[in-house]
Every structure is written in C-alpha cells, then in structure tokens.
Symmetry: D3
Subunit: 326 residues, 6 copies
Amino acid sequence: MAEQENTYQFLKPVDQAAFRDHMETKVAQWIRPWDGQEELLAGVIGVPLSKTSISHSGASTTPAAVRTAFKSFTTYSMEYGVDLQDLAVRDLGDIAMHATDLMGNHRRIEDSLRALFQAHPALIPVLIGGDHSITCPAVKAFADRHPGKKVGIIHFDAHHDVRNFTDGGVTNGTPFRGILESGVVDGRNIVQIGIRGFMNSKPYHDYVTSHGVTVFSSRDVYRQGIEKIIDQALEIAGQGTDVLYVSFDVDVIDQAYAPGCPAIGTGGMHPWDALDALYRLGTLPQVQGLDFVCIDPTVDIRNVTSRLAVQFMLTFFAGVAERAKI
Amino acid sequence: MAEQENTYQFLKPVDQAAFRDHMETKVAQWIRPWDGQEELLAGVIGVPLSKTSISHSGASTTPAAVRTAFKSFTTYSMEYGVDLQDLAVRDLGDIAMHATDLMGNHRRIEDSLRALFQAHPALIPVLIGGDHSITCPAVKAFADRHPGKKVGIIHFDAHHDVRNFTDGGVTNGTPFRGILESGVVDGRNIVQIGIRGFMNSKPYHDYVTSHGVTVFSSRDVYRQGIEKIIDQALEIAGQGTDVLYVSFDVDVIDQAYAPGCPAIGTGGMHPWDALDALYRLGTLPQVQGLDFVCIDPTVDIRNVTSRLAVQFMLTFFAGVAERAKI
Amino acid sequence: MAEQENTYQFLKPVDQAAFRDHMETKVAQWIRPWDGQEELLAGVIGVPLSKTSISHSGASTTPAAVRTAFKSFTTYSMEYGVDLQDLAVRDLGDIAMHATDLMGNHRRIEDSLRALFQAHPALIPVLIGGDHSITCPAVKAFADRHPGKKVGIIHFDAHHDVRNFTDGGVTNGTPFRGILESGVVDGRNIVQIGIRGFMNSKPYHDYVTSHGVTVFSSRDVYRQGIEKIIDQALEIAGQGTDVLYVSFDVDVIDQAYAPGCPAIGTGGMHPWDALDALYRLGTLPQVQGLDFVCIDPTVDIRNVTSRLAVQFMLTFFAGVAERAKI
Amino acid sequence: MAEQENTYQFLKPVDQAAFRDHMETKVAQWIRPWDGQEELLAGVIGVPLSKTSISHSGASTTPAAVRTAFKSFTTYSMEYGVDLQDLAVRDLGDIAMHATDLMGNHRRIEDSLRALFQAHPALIPVLIGGDHSITCPAVKAFADRHPGKKVGIIHFDAHHDVRNFTDGGVTNGTPFRGILESGVVDGRNIVQIGIRGFMNSKPYHDYVTSHGVTVFSSRDVYRQGIEKIIDQALEIAGQGTDVLYVSFDVDVIDQAYAPGCPAIGTGGMHPWDALDALYRLGTLPQVQGLDFVCIDPTVDIRNVTSRLAVQFMLTFFAGVAERAKI
Amino acid sequence: MAEQENTYQFLKPVDQAAFRDHMETKVAQWIRPWDGQEELLAGVIGVPLSKTSISHSGASTTPAAVRTAFKSFTTYSMEYGVDLQDLAVRDLGDIAMHATDLMGNHRRIEDSLRALFQAHPALIPVLIGGDHSITCPAVKAFADRHPGKKVGIIHFDAHHDVRNFTDGGVTNGTPFRGILESGVVDGRNIVQIGIRGFMNSKPYHDYVTSHGVTVFSSRDVYRQGIEKIIDQALEIAGQGTDVLYVSFDVDVIDQAYAPGCPAIGTGGMHPWDALDALYRLGTLPQVQGLDFVCIDPTVDIRNVTSRLAVQFMLTFFAGVAERAKI
Amino acid sequence: MAEQENTYQFLKPVDQAAFRDHMETKVAQWIRPWDGQEELLAGVIGVPLSKTSISHSGASTTPAAVRTAFKSFTTYSMEYGVDLQDLAVRDLGDIAMHATDLMGNHRRIEDSLRALFQAHPALIPVLIGGDHSITCPAVKAFADRHPGKKVGIIHFDAHHDVRNFTDGGVTNGTPFRGILESGVVDGRNIVQIGIRGFMNSKPYHDYVTSHGVTVFSSRDVYRQGIEKIIDQALEIAGQGTDVLYVSFDVDVIDQAYAPGCPAIGTGGMHPWDALDALYRLGTLPQVQGLDFVCIDPTVDIRNVTSRLAVQFMLTFFAGVAERAKI
Ligand SMILES: [Ca+2]
Ligand SMILES: [Ca+2]
Ligand SMILES: [Ca+2]
Ligand SMILES: [Ca+2]
Ligand SMILES: [Ca+2]
Ligand SMILES: [Ca+2]
Ligand SMILES: [Ca+2]
Ligand SMILES: [Ca+2]
Ligand SMILES: [Ca+2]
Ligand SMILES: [Ca+2]
Ligand SMILES: [Ca+2]
Ligand SMILES: [Ca+2]
C-alpha cells in the first residue's frame, strides 16, 4: 500500500500498530508469517483444538491470544545479552481444525507435522495449543522424524495425563497414556515436573511409576530448587536418547501467576523456576521440539497467562540463541 | 501462501477464520482493505482519536473493535431483500494519530479527507471514531468537497456538543460549536435528534436554538415516532442545501442497548428507531457522509456496542444499495 | 482553599471535578450537603441498610453509588423546559447504621425522620435505600407527620413484600405486611404497580387482595399503558387520603434496564413508563415522600442502575418544579 | 436426615436453601428430580452438548445454569391466575454426553428420547440445550413417537440453521438442514420466526424458501405484532399436521435482553413477544415438545439469559395449565 | 434412580458429574453428606454468617463455594504419599442462620457445636465460615468439650481482631476480644501469626500484648521461615494446654494468592508457608478443631480463594492421616 | 454540621465512613486535605495525567483510586514499631490538568512544584501519577530546588523510558531521555532497578549505558537480593550528589502482584523487595522526593494495585519516621 501512503499521507493499513518506535523491534515484527519456503531455525504453529478437553475449555483461542501478546514484547533481553530479531523464527499459522471430527483433528496434527518435518528436518516446532491432547500426535510425528533415534520427554504439568481411554476417549487427560502405550517413547525417558497434590489419583501415579516415568512434584521444585531438578531430569530423559521434546502445560504454574488455565490451583511452580528451566533447555542442541498447552484465554485476566507463555517462549529462544552461537 | 497450502495441507494462514462456510459471505470478506486505486461507492475509515475527550475514553480502540465485529455479520438482509457483497465498499485503514499533538491530529483528519475527496469525489466516507471531536475537521473537509454546494447535518446524539472552548479547548464536547462558529454549515440546516434531559445545560440549549439549530429530544422520538421526526429533519436539513452529512453519536441509544459509551443513561433511543432512520438516510442520494462516534469498547460488554454500530452501518448500506439501484 | 489556589495556581482540592464547564451545572453542584438549617423543598437522605435482606445484598452501598452518579447529570431538561438548580434540594447525608443491631436500625430510621419532620414539616424526603425494609419505619414516621391526615401509597415493585414474619423476621420481604398490620395505612389506599409473574406466591397475592390492596401487574402496564394505570392508582390511593407516599423498588424495571438489583427478571416495566409516572407524581402536591430501594451496586454494570435511579429522581423533581410553579 | 435435625437443631443438609418461606413454593421445589416412574405431564431434560458448535460455546453448562435459576422463581403467576405447583412436571436429569464422540452424542439424544417416549407417550419434553444441533435428533425421535401422524415445527431463531454439511459436518448450524433432508418434517410445515438481517446468507435463505419453509423476520414481528405472526405460523405449521414441536433458539431475543448467547445482535425480538407467543403455544394441545437452545452461561451477565429462559418456560407451562383445565 | 438408568440408558441424575473417571476419587465423592450417625474422624460444617461483618461481605456464600471446589480436587497426594479417601470425613451441612437475629446466630453456632461434641466427642470440626465472628462461639463450645482441659489457639490472620464492642457490637472484628474477655482461653496460650502492618491500630496491638498474646507478623514469617515460627507457636500455645484450636483467616495470605477476601493487601503470607504449617498442625493429636474464615466468593476471581482454602484443608487432612497412622 | 448531629441524632455527613472505630486511625483520617499553610514533612500530590501515554491508559484515575485505598489502611505498623499519625503529612490535592494541552500540563507540573518548593523548601513531595511522563518536569523542579546541589535518581521500572522524541513526542516512554538530555541529572547518578527482558530494545539499553546509567534487571534483584542491589544503587546515585529522588513505576512489580498497570508481565519484582527498598530509602535524609506512576485503575482488579502503592508509600513513611527520630 506504499503508493496510497504517499497519496493520503496519514492513512495507514489496518494491521499496522497504532504506535511504532523505529528504534524498537516487537516480537510481532520478528515472528512474521512464513512464506512456506524460508529455511527456519524454529516455527511457531498454532493448534487451536480444545473440544478434546474433558471439561469446558477455550484453549482453542490460545494461538490468537498468544499472537496478540506478540505486540507487547520486544526481541531483546539485557539479562541474557541477546537480541533475537535475527533468529530465523516465523509464524507458520494454524493447523486447520474440523468442527466435529475430533479424532480426525489429531490426524491432521500428526500429518501436518510429518509433512513439515520431511521438508524442513532441522526446524524446531513450537506448538501453541490447544489442549494437551495435541501432544500425543505431535510426539508421534516428532519421533518418526529421525528414524533410529530415540526420544526423551520433559513434561511440565500439574497432572500425569494418563487417564484411561474408557471413560472419555482420547482427551487432554490422556496424552501420556497415548505416548506410553504406543511405545513411541520409553517411560524411562519421560520426566514429569511440577505434579501437584490432590490433582491426580493414586492409580495414575502408580501407572506412571510402573512405566518407569520419573516424577518431580511442585513441592520438590520448591524445596530442591529448579536447577537440581533439571539436572536430574536431563540425566534421566537423556539416558540413551538422541533428542528431547519439551511439553509445557501452563497449569504447572501457580494460579496466582497463570490464572487463565482450565485446571488451576495453589502450590504451583513459580515463573522464575520455569524461566530458568526453559532457558537452559533452550541452550541444549538435543531439545528439538516444544509445546505450550492448556491455556484458556476466555477465562484469563488481561491475557496475563498468554503473555506469560510468550515470555516463556522468548526465554527458551534466548537459550536457543546461545546454542546457535556455539 | 497457495503453495504452502498444497504442501502442508492443513496449515492455514494466521488471519484466516477458524470456520469458513463457502456458501456465506461475511462482512469481513466484503469490506476488504482498499488497494488505494479502486473506485469506491463508500470507504470505511478508522479515526482512532480519543485523547480529545473531556472524560477518560477508550474510543480510540473502536475502529479495531468494529473490524472485529465484521466477522460476525453477513452481507445479506432478507428484510431489505439485499445482498451487499457487490457494493464497492472497502476498508481504507486508519488515519494515523500522533501520541501527543492532539490539534495536529484534527489537521491530519481534515487533510487526509481533503486528499481523499480530491482523488475520489464520489466516495461516501463512513468514519469510525474516535470521539466526537473528529466530526468538526471531517465536516470541514466534507464541506469543501463540492465548492458552491451547501451542506446540511443530521446529528444523532444525547448531547448538543457545543461547549465553550475556554474550559477545555477543542474536545468531544465542542464539535458543533466548531462547526457553527466556523460557519461551514448554517445552524438552520442542522438537526439534532435524541437530545436527552439532564445531560445538557440550559445555556447550551439556548446557544443551539439561537443559532437556528432544530432539536428533537429522545422523548420526542419516543412519542412521535422516528418516521415523523426524520420527515421534519430532512425538510429542515435539506432546506437550500445540496448534500447531507450524518453524524451518529452512539450514546443517543439507551444504555441498555449501547452500554459501551462513555456517557450513558436511560431514556435513550431504541435501536429500531435508529435502524429505520439510517436505512432511510441511506436511500437518499444527497447523504454523502456518515460517522459513528463515542463508543468506548474498553468499557463495553461482549463488544455489543460495536456490533450494534456495525448493524447500523450495514442498514445504512442497505439503503445505499436501494439508492444505487435507481 | 482560595488562598492556596492563588499561590499554587494549578493545585486544586481533592474533591473538585477534574473537568468543569462554567456554563453547566451538575447535579452534584446543586444537591450539596445540607447545613442543617436551610429550609428545603426536598432532602435526599441515604439509608445504607441491607443486612435486613433475605438474600445477600449490597444495597447498603447505593447511597454512595447514587451520589457518584450525581456528577454525571445536569440540572436542566429541555423535555420539561425546566432547570432544577434553583429548587431548594440538599443532601442530608446518611442515617448512620449500627453494624449488628438491625432492628435498632429501623428505629434509627423512624426516629431520624420524626425529628426531621418535626423541625421541617414541609420537606419532601427522598430516601435512597438500602433495601425495602426501610420503607416500613419511614412510612410510620411519615404517617405521624400530619396528625389526623390519612396516607395513601403508590408502590412500584415486582414483589408484594408481605412475607410472614415467622420465617425470617422483619426483612426486605415484609415492609408492606408491616405497614398493613400496623394499620398505619389502610390497604384500600395502597396500590402496587409492576408486580410480576413467578416472583410471588399465591398466598401472598391473596393476602394483599384480602387487605384491599389494588395490584397492577407489569403485564397490565405493558398492555394498558402507564397513563391509565396511574389514573386508576391515583384514584384509589387518593380515595379519602390527604397525602401520598411513593415507594419505588427498582427491581420493578426489566433486568435489561436495571441489572443491578438483587432480584432481577425479564418482563419488567420499561423505563419510559416509570419516567412518565414519576413526572406526574412529582406534579401532585399531595405526593410528600418518595423512596428508591433495592439497588445493589456491587452487582451492577457500570453503575447503570444507580444512574437510572438518579434520572428517575430528577424526573420526579421536574414534576415537583411544575408543582412549585403553581 | 430427620433424626439429625432433631439432635442438632440448626444443622441443615447441604442442598437446602438458606432461606425458606413456608408460604412460598419455588420452582426448584416443584420441578424435583423424577423417580423414573411417576406419570408426567412434562419433563425437563438437560442436553449438555455444545462441542458441536461451530464457534466456541459454553452452552453445555446451560442445564446447570437453568436449574440454578429455578431457585429464583415461584410457581405462581397472578397475570395468568395460575399456580403451577400441582402440574406433574419433573426434572429427568441430563442426557450423559461422551467427551469426544460427538456424533454418538446425537444418537444418545435420539435413543434416550425414543426410549422415554415409548414408556411415557404423553409426556411433553422440555429440552434444555446445549446448542441447536440437539434439535435434529430430538425431532427425529419426536416424529417417530406417533406413527402415522405428521409434525409441524415453529422455530424461533435469528438464523435459518441450514448450513451445508461439507464445511463443518453436523453442527449447531445445520439442524434444519438435517430435518429437511431427512424428510422427517415437511418444509411446508416449518415456520421460522425472528430471522435477522446480516446474520444469514442469501443461499441459505433461498434454500429454506425453496423447501417451502415460511420465514418471518424479527422486523416482521416488530412491525406486525407477535399475535398476527403466531396466527399465521399456526395456520402454516398446522396445515395437515397432527402435532407441533417448538424449537426456541434464545438468540432470537435482542442482545440487550439475552446477552448470554454465542451469536448476539441488536434488532432482535422483545421478551414480551416471546412470552405472549409461548403462552399461546402452551395452551394448544397439539404442541407436544419444546426446546431452548444456544444460551452460553459462561459469557452471560448475572445469569440473566438463563433466568429469561426459565421465565419463558414457566409462561409456556402457564399455557399448558390452561390447556390442562379444558 | 438405578432402574431409570437401565431403562433410559443415558439419562443421569442431575447432581452427577458430567465427566467421571472410574480410576479417580474426587473430594466431592469422599466428603459426602453425613447420615447423622456414622462415627467420624472429622466433619466439615458450613457456617454461612457474614452479616456480622463490619464491612460488606459475602462470606456467607463461602460454604457453597468451597463445596463447589470439592469437585476440582482428588483425595491423593503424592507429595505426602497419602490417599485420604478412607478417612472418615463427612459433610455435616450448614448451621442454619436466621435472616436478622445476628446474636441468635452466634448462639446457634455454639449450641449446635455443643450438641455435636456431646454426641461425638472425638470429631474434629472443620468450620467453613462465614466471617470471623463465628470463631468466638465456636471456641466457647470447643473449650467446654473436655471439662478440665485447657485450650490453646493458633490464629492465622492479618488482623488482631480485638476491636472494642462499643463501636459496632460483636462482629468479625472482635472474636479474640470475645475469647480473651470471656476467659475461655488464656491470652498466654494464643499465638497470632501473619499480622500485617498498616492493618491494625496501636491500641489493639497493645491490647493483645497486654493480655499475653504472642504475635508474629507476616514479615516475621517471611524473614524467619514458617518452620521456626510454628516451633515457637506450638511451644507457646501448648504451654500447659491440652488441646489446640486453629483459626485460619484467609486474609493472612497475600492478595495475589487470595484475592477473594474482604480485607486484602500485599505483603501477606505465601501459600507454601500456610501449607507447611497446616500439614504440621494436622499431624499433631492435640489439634482438635479448625476453622477457615473471611473468604468472600462474591468478589473472588474464578473461585481461586475457595480453591486455595480447600487445598489448605486437604493438606491439614494429609497431616491428620499421618497422625492417624501412629 | 455539629448542631445537626445533635438535632437529628443519626444523620451523619456524606463523607463520613460507614463504620468508625474510635481506637483506630485510618490513613484517610491522617492524610487530610492541606490548608495551604501548615508546615509539612511530606505532601501527597495527585498528578492525573495519562493522555501522554503511548498506549491507552487510565492512569489519570490513579490519584482518586489511591485516596480511596487510604480508607483501607491504618497508620500503625507493628513490624517497624511506628505509628505514623503524628507525622505532618497532608493531601495537597491534584495538579489541575488541561483536557488537550498536553505539553502545557507538563509545564503546570513543573510550575506548581517550583512554587511549592519555594514556599516549603523542606517538604518531601510524594507524587501520585499519572503516567511516567510526569517525572521529567517533576525532576526539573526538584533539581532547581536547592541551587548548587546535585541530584541522584533511583528509578524502579521494567523499562528504560528513553524512547526517541521523533516517533511520539514527549510521552510516558521518554522521561529519562528528557532528564538525561536536559542535563538536569547526570546519567552516572541514575540507577535503574527492575528492568525486564523482552520489554526494552537494544538501542535503548545501549543509550542508557552510554550515558553512564547503571542498570539492574529484575533478574539481578531475584538472584542477588534487594539489599545488595540497594547498597550498590545508593553508592552510585549518591556519588557526589546531595539529594536523591526516587521514581517508582509500579510495573516493575510482577503482574501477579500489580495487575493494574498498562504494561504488565511476569518475571517482575516481588513486593517484599520493594517494601524493603522503600523502607530503607525512607530512612535516608538525602531522599527528598518520590513518585509512583503508571498504575491504571480502570484495568485493575479490586483496586489491588493502588492498595499496593499505598502500602509502598506507607512503608516509605515508616522509614521517614525512623529518619525523623534521629
Ligand atoms: Ca496436561
Ligand atoms: Ca495439567
Ligand atoms: Ca457527541
Ligand atoms: Ca453524546
Ligand atoms: Ca420490594
Ligand atoms: Ca422487589
Ligand atoms: Ca439456531
Ligand atoms: Ca441462532
Ligand atoms: Ca480475622
Ligand atoms: Ca483478617
Ligand atoms: Ca516507566
Ligand atoms: Ca514501565
């Protein structure tokens, strides 16, 4: 619309920010829509699926809420001494969801990621859910990406997410049962961090431990510090594996900091612990995939939970930038 | 992104609606961004200025809220037997506002419209404020559009908007004083409809009547019916004039129907009366400009007031379509 | 603080409005605190009591919410051709309520009004509740004001308000049982307007009719028009009485217009009908007292219900101004 | 818990109301849970399904919200001179919904109703959705209830609800396409009332008229009055049919009165028109089924939309009581 | 309703959860209504009284809000390695409150608890207020439970709660003055934890210290750690006493974590400190009573404060389970 | 109104609190309106300007929101063993702002403070913004107060606030550029504490460091503890200066604790760190001015952010009381 701008000096296109500072780069200017060709370090992919939740959830609106928050942050962190704006990260758009074919939607996620990974084997996907059910098809595509290589998972969550399939089918309560039962990842390479009391049943705790999954509670993080927990988690998840996938259910964070999740509670993780963990995971070359799930912007307050997720993602990218330097 | 869609079947661009019905055209698909060239019947122009309000107002966010509501409506009205989708109406974007130079912003409005009218003399501007202060520069540009022709104004509002300039300068409380004192429109061709009790002072009522302005109260509309009021209004505003400008302050509507305005109250106009009036004004060739002002989406409930404004605008266009037929 | 204003030009006292237009008088400037001496036409009196409600109610915050709304309205109505600013109406403050002695609070209301009426026999009290329980002590004081004169009551409400005293004592559900059983007003001079279906029980409807009370439903108002209803109401309430008291429970208005009441519902009266009724009642010399009750600002939206009550009160005063002229 | 009440005088069971007036019957006391045996005049059935909506909807929470509103209303209407408390109306509970098998849920609705109708052929079902997709299976079961008898439908809605099945499958946008294409009801016996401009596309308007469906717009109701519209609707829907089904999409009501619907707008029907229509439909013996759909309590304000639905249902029952008398 | 379920396969009773996982026990399934006979380890008792608050409070709605939160938590804590579902804890319902006889309500609390303690001497009451005024009658009944035994109190609160009785009578501001002046507990066995700056007056601080009460400020907890504070508190409260009562005013928690209290502020206790303290108190056999007070769900956000109270109670029960083991 | 109180025992003036405890002094009773003469230790001054913000901000309503919170706090802190009620602190009212002359408003701030400082050279101003643009004129007046003395600044903020003047003029994004470029304070005596990642651009970070400004990030505070940071800050800001000014942008606090700021985010400072810092700064005689800015009460929740600011101010005064003792 360059010509118009000349003619009608003050008329600016609809999608341009009301205020622009030419000395500042916003995340919205950096993570632009992908042209489908450019080779990328990482790609943000919206997965607006939440009808697969067992309780009412507006998580399908998260990709849009997260993109809105892109306007509120810059690309620069003095803390890590890094400006992200030259990293090749783009917005790949959303995986289109069918209104009623929910199991078909899981296939769409898996198929889309397989196609993407085939064309761009080095791209780090950053999935913005949607509910946690998206992680099972995502991990299946992820695991098939490099045949012969083994995958470990670091899973931040208040919940084990291994419900039985009988009572409600494949939902946001079942992704890790799906992963474990499909055998795509060995339970001994899965670490769950931030599991909370009175939010899971004993049979499910027994289920994960019987599959060799390692569990750190939110109380463990509070008492031992995130650094020690991540040390152990990397040791366990990395044991004999080649690549790591990080699945981050935002309800792992205390309800005071992340009120916009369907299943909230007190006694959750503090954001600083998550920030430290994600930075460190970002620095590690073996971390090749990441998702943020189970935010419900429709019950959030001032979009704080989506903003927090964006800051978490940016901090992960600060780590990736460090990795890229080496 | 056509190629990408082929490759990654389900990846869709960010700005595409989650659900699309191929047998339905939404207003958002019809009122697309203008290319700066196409000859238009009408153009929607955002004017995101509300720092000129005497009370705290978020009216600067209205253009965005109105565009969001474009997704909720279709182009077809069975009531008027009209499908608007072939009318050449486009979105011209926003007039860029400076953060602190408020009087300069009024000049930007006037200058932008002058430039636009020069290039496209037949285009009907539909301004989405912003607060009511935008109407004075808009009317000045409008009046100069066809030299030698006289302008009449139909002004829907709970307020006279003729405050003195001493107490706060040029604000949303003064547009009609600005218009009257500049002489750009003769008071005898101005009709105010919907003025409410206990929302204006006697000196200002005396001021407008002393300038020959005709005033119909909200009570008059309720008692006499909108049809009679509009009959008289057209008679008066049209007396010796060539073109008409319609300025619609949404606070003229009762607070139950339009809760998202800064100055709300009961005893306001009913939406049906506004719809009937706007349809009729739409049908008249002499009506060549329209604005909607003084919505504050930041205090609205579920965006109902912006939705209402969109329905008002569409009904005006239904009238325009009728006019276009002849 | 005149001197300070000279010295520190721009420092203004805390309670002064942010924006003042010297050509406009706000209700807040007109209904000033009373000096305790000035002879008044009418006095606004807050009665912040709502612990006497059978359901949770924040009606005790209404006097403050109503005073806040005084800043949003002017004293002038073009519709009635009247500027109220010279009427001697002042704000008498609130009747102080004890935190736990609820029956004592009713005595405080009665005693305060008795003392006030003794010193100022011609003053029209405009009580701002609080819940409806305040009307029983208020009417008792009102009835004793002019010994030997009989009182009639026009009662706008969705409810009969004649619950038995056994189940909860003296509450907002019982004022008219209190009035009827104390014999202070004869049921044959009480008219209830706006009673709604499915909001009262048959035994209570039978109770009021057995006491000779006349009842018009909200549906009657909708079908017959307010004018006819008020005609009949005045006939009945005035039959053999000397003075009239008007008790206005704001929940008589439809929930779309008055969402901030504890007991809301659809099918209520339209504001225009209330405005017409109150103007007319204002014009009648026999109307000597008025209350507005059962607004709960803590559940309201943008204070619309308190604003509406203020507009109702102003319209009553417009009628009073008419009466004063004669 | 009778004994406990003796022993611990003031301990009352959890589910008992905080305040009870022994002279008043609330709807919650009347429409009690059904024992599965009692012969009923009518049964309230919750259908908590809204994952079948094309946009995000919390309509699945409506049955609970409606039951909560049962506590706010009594069984008596002075307007219709009727106390409903002796009508055999009970709460049949909810049809259990599967978390992810959405098409299976439609079968559950149809199967449950078939089983119910077989055991209780005279019972009038009052379905509380859920979204409008529930109406198609409900009508299929309803139509098979009395073999050999023909069914007519009176459909209140802002929308035609005949979207194509290709773009999203069977959703809340398609129930009347489902009904028409299954042939279970003849389009010439379907009347749509309250359809609004700019909320439907021309192809869908053409689709319904080509199937013989009669359409009255919201504007028609406003201009002609509900009585005339219902006269015509009964004539058309009753032409050659034996029984009538009423489907009431609450978004037919203006957004000021029913803000808690997913698809809101101005220019909708007024509650009084709906109340009059539903009372009249209640009185007619041929009306044998009713549903209320597309309320979303999660976006409502003070549950006003569910309250309104309850008042609509009660007014329908007031008509039924009249019918029962004959 | 077993038979009905057979007949109408998918119809489920109203009060059954929408989603049930047969491998998970929710707190709502565990803390069922009491039959009035079963011997209990502990009983949850609602005390819906808040008209005794000096400021507007909806604390009377807390018991219902807390029970709603019972559906959101399970009985199992991996952190403490305990599943509570076999503990004999039941819901005793609410103590019925009179609408206006506030002092009578205090007698109801005391009488109900006395009767309960007489029949079930070993039952640990967990009172869910209501405001803090309920603690004085509760402690009186508690103290008389075991004649000859002395009681100590651990009181978590931002406030001393020893206001004079002259200014407002017996309110939520006076429970500890009531306890101290009645002599039912010796001030030297009362420990107040979490008292905050700028929320109490000096005369009241002097009053408690002059009665021998020990006070730890919220700042003390922050600086010294909760463990040390509880060590000292147990030492002091236990000095010469036989049983301990814990009174937990939720406003002791920082407003970021417990926004739904009438008197909120920053600089409050962190939830982890409360969780640690309550677990430890749960493990001690001498702790025989507990209350949670001064939550106002009507001003809360997403019920987070009631959820937090439930997690606090569950953690106390985790301690009790530990105690029960020994 | 003393006489009236005698006559009408229970009538109390409008502005008197509903509940008063004669043994408690609220901040609202202590920080009374100034008479313009009394010599003061400190004065609270409202600066209701936020049209100078680059994004929509309601910070102009903060002075009123802060004063409302004065009613919620007492003058006594047991933590610091201090009762503030005898400190000579008064409310000087607001600096009157013009509706549209924004640069003139900055002159009003500077001129008002100059006049005030001239008449009362020892008064500590506590400015309640408004947005951060007010700090530049305030510091200019402050710096000229004691000719020949040098000023240092401790600036708490998530942002550097040194945007270029080209893109939006003089705004809340530019105060420290204004201060640096005017030379009124040397960059080497400015310390910024709490700067956050992804909220500033690299060019602005480079700008401040190139001017010698010292920057501590929010992460630095979290890792090193506030005590060490303040030690260093005092060292740097005090190097060669005589007086210190403290500018506190409340968005430096984490969004969980201060949700009512325009630019919120996670990873911010904890309130305890701010409380400790402000107490310490209060104790230092060289600290002679303080402002709190960038709260937006219109987007806050239960006024928690203004309450927090009041507690911050009171804690600063607790320090000042300590200073006064010496
Ligand atoms: Ca999860
Ligand atoms: Ca989770
Ligand atoms: Ca206007
Ligand atoms: Ca206006
Ligand atoms: Ca009443
Ligand atoms: Ca009522
Ligand atoms: Ca529909
Ligand atoms: Ca619809
Ligand atoms: Ca307390
Ligand atoms: Ca407390
Ligand atoms: Ca700043
Ligand atoms: Ca800032």
